[in-house]
């Protein structure tokens, strides 16, 4: 059971564990969160109420949870992975019934003092379950069509449930997180190539059939696609948000308009400025320098996770780190691309910065898992 090159890290004392924590990563997370506090204070018009104060408390709780998770042996988490996935599935199903009848808002589940978004948990759950699946799957079976059916089902099932809520953004994130684990696990290039070719050509076919005798979709559906792809066609409706967002970003210039001086945010031209569009407020007030700095912080987190993955000889741990880091990446990349008008508006918050307790806790939970995998990595001889 033991290999020549790697040994499981057993018998670590608590002190050693704490020393083995990836402290640079924790510092980066704290730095990004602080940028969040700063912006939440600013968009509230210079007040801890109603967002910044609560966000700080949640971050405090989240950090504690992260540390607890990090100090628990990764083997326990590996054992727990399928349960986590099934638990998240159960909650997703529950939200279908309880969420609709009980609360009106479909995505939320009321668990006593906290309100929970099961779809957030599912982003971790799907990565954990797939990492576990590929950790035990024999190498030559990874690209076997039959052995690809279970992971595909594990991805598509929760996606459908989340789509039904409906939450396209989160569904896509779940899909991409799952796909990343499959990719890292080594699923053959042939599949990826086919996926890309089929995807591109089917989109091309659908768009190309427009206005011909064999048109695939109805006209109104094409119109919907048009507005989705180019919201600026409708500057007072769907395009209003993105137009105002770009104005705020652009007006920030190189050095920004100054902290709490962003006119677009302060005069309410920006929509959802404390959640999905908080990056715009930051860019308006701190300019190109500020937005590039935030991008760099996120980039550094990605680098640290990659290094952590590369040095980790445990397959489950490596896949877990890679998958969760990619999920994190998709979060902020999609959010930034959205507020800068590169992709259509999908409701994805900026991780650690946007106001939102559920997202904050789940994110820190996933970094707890990354830390656990890092702390309990096999010793390299």
């Amino acid at each position: 059971m033991s290999s020549l090159s790697a040994r499981p890290a057993v018998g670590l004392t608590l002190t050693k564990k704490i020393l083995r924590l990836n402290w640079a990563l924790i510092l980066l997370l704290a730095a990004i969160s602080c940028a969040g506090f700063l912006m939440l204070y600013s968009v509230a018009g210079g007040s801890m109420e109603p967002w910044a104060g609560r966000q700080i408390v949640r971050f405090g709780v989240g950090i504690v949870i992260m540390l607890i998770v990090a100090l628990i042996d990764i083997k326990i988490w590996r054992w727990f992975s399928p349960l986590a996935y099934l638990g998240a599935m159960a909650l997703l199903v529950a939200v279908e019934f309880v969420g609709t009848t009980g609360m009106g808002a479909q995505r939320w589940l009321n668990l006593g003092p906290i309100q929970l978004q099961p779809s957030e948990l599912m982003k971790i759950g799907v990565v954990m379950a797939l990492a576990r699946y590929y950790a035990v799957l024999e190498r030559d079976r990874v690209s076997h069509p039959l052995w690809m059916l279970p992971p595909l089902a594990m991805i598509i099932l929760p996606m459908l449930l989340v789509l039904k809520q409906p939450d396209l953004g989160t569904a896509l994130l779940i899909g991409m997180s799952g796909a990343v684990v499959m990719f890292l696990a080594g699923v053959s290039w042939w599949y990826w190539g086919t996926l890309i070719v089929v995807g591109v050509s089917s989109v091309w076919t659908v768009l190309e059939s427009r206005g011909t005798s064999w048109q695939i979709l109805n006209n109104y559906q094409y119109t919907r696609i048009d507005t989705f792809l180019d919201p600026e066609r409708d500057p007072l409706g769907a395009g209003y948000h993105i137009t105002q967002s770009k104005i705020a970003l652009g007006a920030g210039g190189i050095s920004g308009r100054g902290y709490m001086q962003g006119t677009q945010s302060r005069l309410d031209f920006l929509p959802e400025k404390h959640t999905d569009f908080i990056f715009t407020s930051l860019s308006e007030e701190f300019g190109f320098v500020g937005s590039l700095s935030l991008l760099a912080l996120y980039g550094l987190i990605l680098m640290f996770c990659f290094v952590s993955m590369a040095i980790n000889r445990d397959r489950f741990s490596a896949l877990l780190i890679g998958g969760l880091a990619a999920t994190f990446f998709f979060f902020w990349a999609v959010n930034m691309a959205m507020v800068m008008g590169l992709i259509p508006v999908v409701g994805v918050p900026l991780p650690l910065v946007s106001y939102g307790g559920s997202a904050m806790l789940v994110l820190l939970l996933s970094f707890g898992l990354i830390q656990s995998a890092h702390v309990h990595r096999p010793k390299v001889l």
Binding site: S3, Y133, G186, G250, G253, F269, A333, M336
Partner: protein, 641 residues
């Protein structure tokens, strides 16, 4: 399910570790490309295009609001106010502060009366506008009501007492047709501006701005209005004003003193009583319009506040037409008052001599048509003096036939008839002096000699306004091209008048006419003898006129023309009189038109006499109007006879 719960194979891990890392590198590469794209986009927006976006952000944020200037005020020649700005005590409500709008209106209703329709309008407006927009609840409150609301302010959250400016006409009806009134800008006002080839000015968009609707308020709109102030304000996305960035105050126009003399103006209306009539009194030396009355009149103040439809309908339905400005837009056949024009045209042309006589048998035969004189038996042999004195029609048929319509028209225009007068009065009309060309264009038939004959006694197509008749009289009296004027001083500085140029006619001819006009009033056989002024220093000269508004048929003439008193009011003749005083040194010209008043000598001449007597009394018989100091060279015609 064993594969799912089984343990990972560590040996496989080692083999596969390289693969995971390689795939990780590929993934990292893709992510790096995306990060690069995001950074490039940031640079694009924040560095390359920042100027454009910053402009857009400023446009979002900054609004310009115009501030209405205080409209310039109007005074009469002695400084009595004609149109002034008074405080308008009003109450507005801001919904977001008021909370329950209905409850606040109920509370307010306990203090001031809020009619049901007003309440409904307020509630409707509140629904349609943002919560922070003030909605006008009540206007033009009394000071007592206003004070009461102020005292109860703590119990009325969201209710704000405000003081605005409102136009007020202290002499309401007496000056209504001269001064006019203002009101809210309507589409009609905008259309009028556009059709005059102007762009509607931004100032018109100020919600409380009031534009001149009629009278001098409309004609002098651009003088009175002034310049709007400007404030730059910062607004948020729903238009709420966050703060004022800067502000430049507007400037009102220049206060104007009109030539009007309020006391005489008032007297004119008083004297006209219930008659449907117009009076114009003019200073013949400088053209100052001292009084212009159109009777009956109306109160312009309700129009400013918003007149009720019932009151407006009553004004419209009155057959004496109180809203109609008779001295400016009323066009009447001048009748015999036109005879001086015909006579002067003929004298100047030489077709008749001053002492030459014409025989009047009571009618003039032209082909098959008979043109009748007003005296059935005729006047016998008449010369120029007698033709004016006794207003012989046949003499003028003959004279008009000799001189022709073109010469008459030319003289008419020289005396101010059939032309546009240059005074700031809305709805000023130019009357009508027919010519052969005009008839061909208008009626597509040729001019007939009969038309000339009718024109010769101021009937037929000839039409003149009372103000034109006053100008005609002033020009005859002074022998100069007197132009009427309404503005005496701008911002306290008198407007200079140059001595009007000579009329360009033989002074001896004018002298003959003036003597004849003197006899109309003062000689034993004059048509206006009963209205003569006995004071030696203020003798009146003039001419009566009676203009038919119906055709008298041959049959009626045979039976005997129906007397005016026996006709329904609207078919009676118009009574006219033009005159001036003092006869030996003309100073004041007057024209009077009494609609359907009957004969000029009975209905119009006494009014003219009384008004001139009032002028004499008012100016103390000094023959001088006050306030001449510093007023340039007033036109002073040489004293004759």
């Amino acid at each position: 399910m064993a594969w799912f719960w089984g343990k990972s194979k560590r040996s496989a891990d080692a083999d596969n570790h390289g693969l995971v890392t390689r795939r990780g590198v590929v993934l990292l590469g893709v992510q790096a490309v995306i990060v690069g794209a995001l950074g490039w986009r940031m640079r694009q927006l924040q560095v390359v295009e920042t100027e454009r976006f910053r402009t857009l952000a400023e446009e979002n944020r900054i609004n310009m609001r115009l501030i209405a200037p205080a409209r310039a005020q109007l005074f009469d020649r002695n400084g009595d106010p004609l149109a002034i700005n008074t405080r308008n005590y009003r109450v507005v409500m801001v919904r977001e502060q008021a909370g329950d709008a209905e409850e606040m209106l109920d509370r307010l209703n306990r203090l001031i009366d809020i009619p049901e329709h007003q309440r409904r309008r307020v509630l409707k407006e509140i629904k349609g506008k943002s919560a922070f927009v003030p909605i006008g609840v009540a206007e033009h409150l009394s000071w007592e009501d206003f004070a009461e609301i102020n005292a109860n302010a703590p119990a009325l959250p969201g209710i704000h007492p405000e003081v605005g400016l409102s136009r007020h006409y202290p002499n309401g009806p007496e000056t209504a047709h001269v001064v006019g009134y203002v009101g809210r800008v309507t589409q009609r006002d905008l259309d009028r501006i556009t059709s005059a080839g102007r762009e509607p000015e931004p100032i018109l968009q100020i919600p409380e701005f009031q534009i001149g609707k009629t009278g001098a308020e409309r004609a002098l709109e651009y003088d009175l209005r002034g310049h709007a102030g400007n404030r730059r304000i910062e607004v948020n996305s729903v238009g709420r004003v966050i703060r004022e960035l800067d502000r430049t105050e507007g400037a009102g126009g220049e206060d104007l003193h009109l030539t009007l003399d309020l006391e005489i103006q008032k007297y004119c209306h008083e004297r006209l009583g219930d008659e449907s009539a117009a009076v114009v009194l003019m200073d013949v030396r400088n053209g100052d319009l001292l009084a212009m009355a159109s009777n009956p009149t109306y109160d312009p103040n309700p129009f400013v506040l918003g007149i009720s439809s019932a009151a407006y309908k009553a004004l419209l339905d009155d057959d004496h037409r109180p809203l109609h400005n008779k001295w400016a837009s009323g066009m009447y056949p001048p009748g015999s008052t036109f005879k001086m024009v015909v006579a002067l045209a003929a004298l100047e042309d030489g077709v008749i001599g001053p002492s030459e006589t014409v025989y009047c048998p009571g009618h003039l035969q032209l082909g098959k048509r008979k043109f009748h004189c007003w005296r059935r038996g005729g006047h016998g042999w008449v010369d120029l003096r007698e033709s004016i004195e006794q207003s012989c029609d046949v003499y003028y048929y003959e004279v008009a036939r000799r001189v022709g319509i073109e010469k008459i028209a030319e003289m008419s225009r020289r005396l101010g008839l059939g032309v546009d007068l240059d005074i700031p009065v809305a709805a000023l009309r130019s009357g009508l002096i027919p010519t052969k060309d005009w008839k061909r264009r208008r009626h597509e038939t040729d001019w007939l000699v009969g038309d000339t004959l009718n024109s010769g006694i101021g009937q037929g197509y000839v039409l003149a306004t009372p103000i034109q008749l006053a100008v005609m009289t002033a020009r005859l009296a002074s022998g100069r091209m007197v132009e009427p004027r309404l503005i005496r001083a701008r911002a306290g500085t008198p407007v200079l008048v140059e001595t009007p140029p000579e009329l360009g006619v033989n002074p001896r001819h004018l002298e003959r006419l003036r003597r004849a006009m003197f006899d109309v009033v003062n000689s034993a056989r004059g048509t206006a003898r009963s209205s003569r002024i006995k004071e030696d220093d203020f003798r009146m000269a003039g001419k009566t006129g009676t203009s038919q508004v119906r055709n008298i048929s041959k049959a009626e003439r045979a039976r005997g023309v129906i007397r005016n008193e026996d006709l329904p009011w609207h078919r009676r003749d118009h009574a006219l009189f033009v005159g001036y005083a003092p006869a030996d040194s003309p100073r004041y010209a007057v024209s009077v038109v009494v609609e359907h008043g009957g004969g000029g000598s009975k209905a119009a001449a006494p009014i003219a006499r009384d008004i001139l007597m009032k002028v004499r009394e008012h100016y103390g018989g000094t023959r001088q109007t006050p306030l001449e100091q510093g007023q340039g060279q007033p036109g002073s015609p040489a004293s004759r006879t």
